[in-house]
Amino acid sequence: MNGGAENTRTITYREAVREAIREAILKDERVFLMGEDVGHYGGCFAVSKGLLEEFGPDRIRDTPLCESAFVGAGIGAALGGMRPIVEIMTVNFSLLAADQILNNAATYLHMSGGLFNVPLVIRMATGGGRQLAAQHSHSLEGWYAHIPGVKVLTPATLEDARGMLGTALEDPDPVLIFENNTLYNMEGELPSDPGPVEIDRAKVRRQGGDLTIITYGGSLFKALEAAEGLAKEGIDAEVIDLRTLRPLDNETFLASIAKTHRGLVVDEGWRSGGISAEISARIMEGVFFELDAPVQRICTAEVPLPYAKHLEEAALPQVDKIMETARKMVQTNG
């Protein structure tokens, strides 16, 4: 497990999330994990593998297939003084719990005039790219980001996969964490004793002066790959990882666009009415006169995601499309 540098080790995204859960359970007796197949099966994506054996069925709690009830039970347990981590297998299944998330978790604090906050963390897998077709592949984190009262986190890096959960558990309000399913096998270096991360700010993952690519989650690595390709052509792209979709950190991307004068949003959600539209609107509202080219968006094609590999690939944002769009934007002079 020893990595290259001293005091770091090689770890996968999946292991980073598992470590974060494990640490939280060890640190706080109020924390427990609950969801479908988190225990005996070891987690649909093997995130919680081994935790049942270590912590027992009270704290690694297998649930029946009843998203609405176990998410609601998470809300109730949070109201009752616990700090539950609820796992929903995929974002598509979360729609069965949408009532509890929107009508209860997001509203209790407000409806009660500040009396009852809901310190609940919900984790779920999101995103396409694994040929899982139209009921297991969508990216609905942008929908959830529409809802006042919840926070929406999209950890893309190992550091965030490891660090965001602990910070989310310290938050007094409901936090939804979206883990892009293509990232679970991603491997890299992480300090052996990683600290917590803050969840309020976007991060510049690559510095550049010619245009700003704004993205998050699984698309971050496509954007970074595109930026490396563009660099070889003499185009210097800045890449921003939003990290948190609600509250959205305007400041970081607006400051970047004020510098590069061009903004490209890459979002695995659908284009119409999506988070990419929101980001574009905020750019118009905030730095319109800084722009040298119209804001562009690369989103998932407006189809339910198909099974066939070539069609799914064509539907999702891809590196070549990002590069092509970036080239055209840079050729445009304000």
Partner: protein, 335 residues
């Protein structure tokens, strides 16, 4: 008891004080509701208003079985539950007025009354939506070894919702201390139970989850109290959840907008003959535990309490618009 709907025949034995206490609690609800209807017509209260008139025996009887440490989850028809649980009529009335001295600063209104000091967790206006929350509150209590009961009220309409079935299963599977109280008033808004359910005998729903179930005459506060007391004691002892069906009837429409096209006047008149308040007055007088003078005095005191609540609500203030976006996220950063 498992699997079978059992009719609770037993009534609580009462003395003068307790009998009069139950009567007063029901009268407080009745008069608060009547005043609310009046204030709604006068447009002092707006939005939706769902009155509990006719069903008072259920909330009052069940609350007698709970301790202050227990938790309550209720529905949008919850003024009676809030009052019987110990919330002040002034805070309830001010909430319905939309004033900041209301129990939820005017952000909840009639359908969303909350109170932390009495562990009153709403006020849920999504039918069935409160059941999973009750399961979670009970889970927290069980995980922390607290001998507390979570009492969850819902109507007959809720049993058609998936959340009812999911919650019954979870509570039974995990043997959680939830007292499920189904207020069966025969109508899911305006659709009769027989048009909603393939099985209208609701205790049989509980049987499917191996949850102990009892059905009681919900128009008799003593019968409700006796059944709830036994059920709550069973739940508290760790024997898992219990399902208590209270057969009741709402005398008014579903909300203030209801033309009541779905039921006959004769049916309403028939049920009003079983008015839980008149019923208890009759029983107490028969046992010489209440005199006409007692009743008049009680009515005067209740009327005064409600008048004071209204005066309080009238005098209360509105939250400044500058505070609009408060309470979307907690003002304290860490828990």
């Amino acid at each position: 008891m498992n699997g079978e709907g059992v009719k609770a025949e037993q009534r609580a034995t009462i003395d003068r004080d307790h009998g009069q206490h139950l009567l007063r609690q029901m009268l407080r609800i009745r008069r608060l509701e009547e005043k609310s209807a009046e204030l709604y017509s006068a447009q002092r209260i707006r939005g939706f208003l769902h009155l509990y008139i006719g069903e008072e025996a259920v909330a009052v009887g069940v609350m007698e079985a709970l301790t202050p440490e227990d938790a309550v989850v209720a529905t949008y028809r919850e003024h009676g539950h809030a009052l019987a649980r110990g919330m002040s009529p002034g805070a309830i009335m001010a909430e319905m007025y939309g004033k900041q001295e209301g129990c939820c600063r005017g952000r909840g209104g009639s359908m969303h009354l909350f109170d932390d000091t009495t562990r009153f967790y709403g006020g849920n206006a999504i039918v069935g939506g409160g059941l999973p929350i009750a399961v979670g509150l009970a889970l927290a209590d069980k995980m922390r070894n607290k001998r507390q009961v979570t009492c969850c009220f819902f109507g007959d309409g809720a049993v058609a919702e998936g959340e009812f079935h999911e919650s019954m299963n979870l509570a039974a599977l995990w043997q959680l201390p939830v007292l499920f109280v189904c207020e069966n008033n025969l109508y899911a808004m305006g659709t009769a139970l027989r048009y909603c359910e393939s099985v209208t005998e609701l205790t049989r729903k509980a049987a499917g989850y191996d949850v102990a179930a009892i059905s009681v005459e919900g128009m008799d506060v003593l019968e409700v109290e006796a059944a709830a007391t036994k059920a709550a004691a069973d739940v508290r002892s760790g024997s898992g959840p219990c399902f208590l069906e209270c057969r009741t009837y709402r005398f008014r429409g579903h909300s203030m907008f209801d033309a009541e096209l779905y039921r006959t006047k004769e049916e309403v008149v028939e049920w009003k003959r079983r008015d839980p308040i008149a019923n208890l007055i009759g029983q107490l007088k028969e046992k010489a535990l209440l005199t006409e003078t007692d009743l008049e005095k009680m009515e005067r005191e209740v009327a005064l309490e409600i008048e004071e609540a209204v005066a309080f609500a009238e005098a209360c203030t509105y939250e400044p618009v500058e505070d609009l976006t408060r309470f979307v996220y907690s003002e304290r950063r860490k828990v």
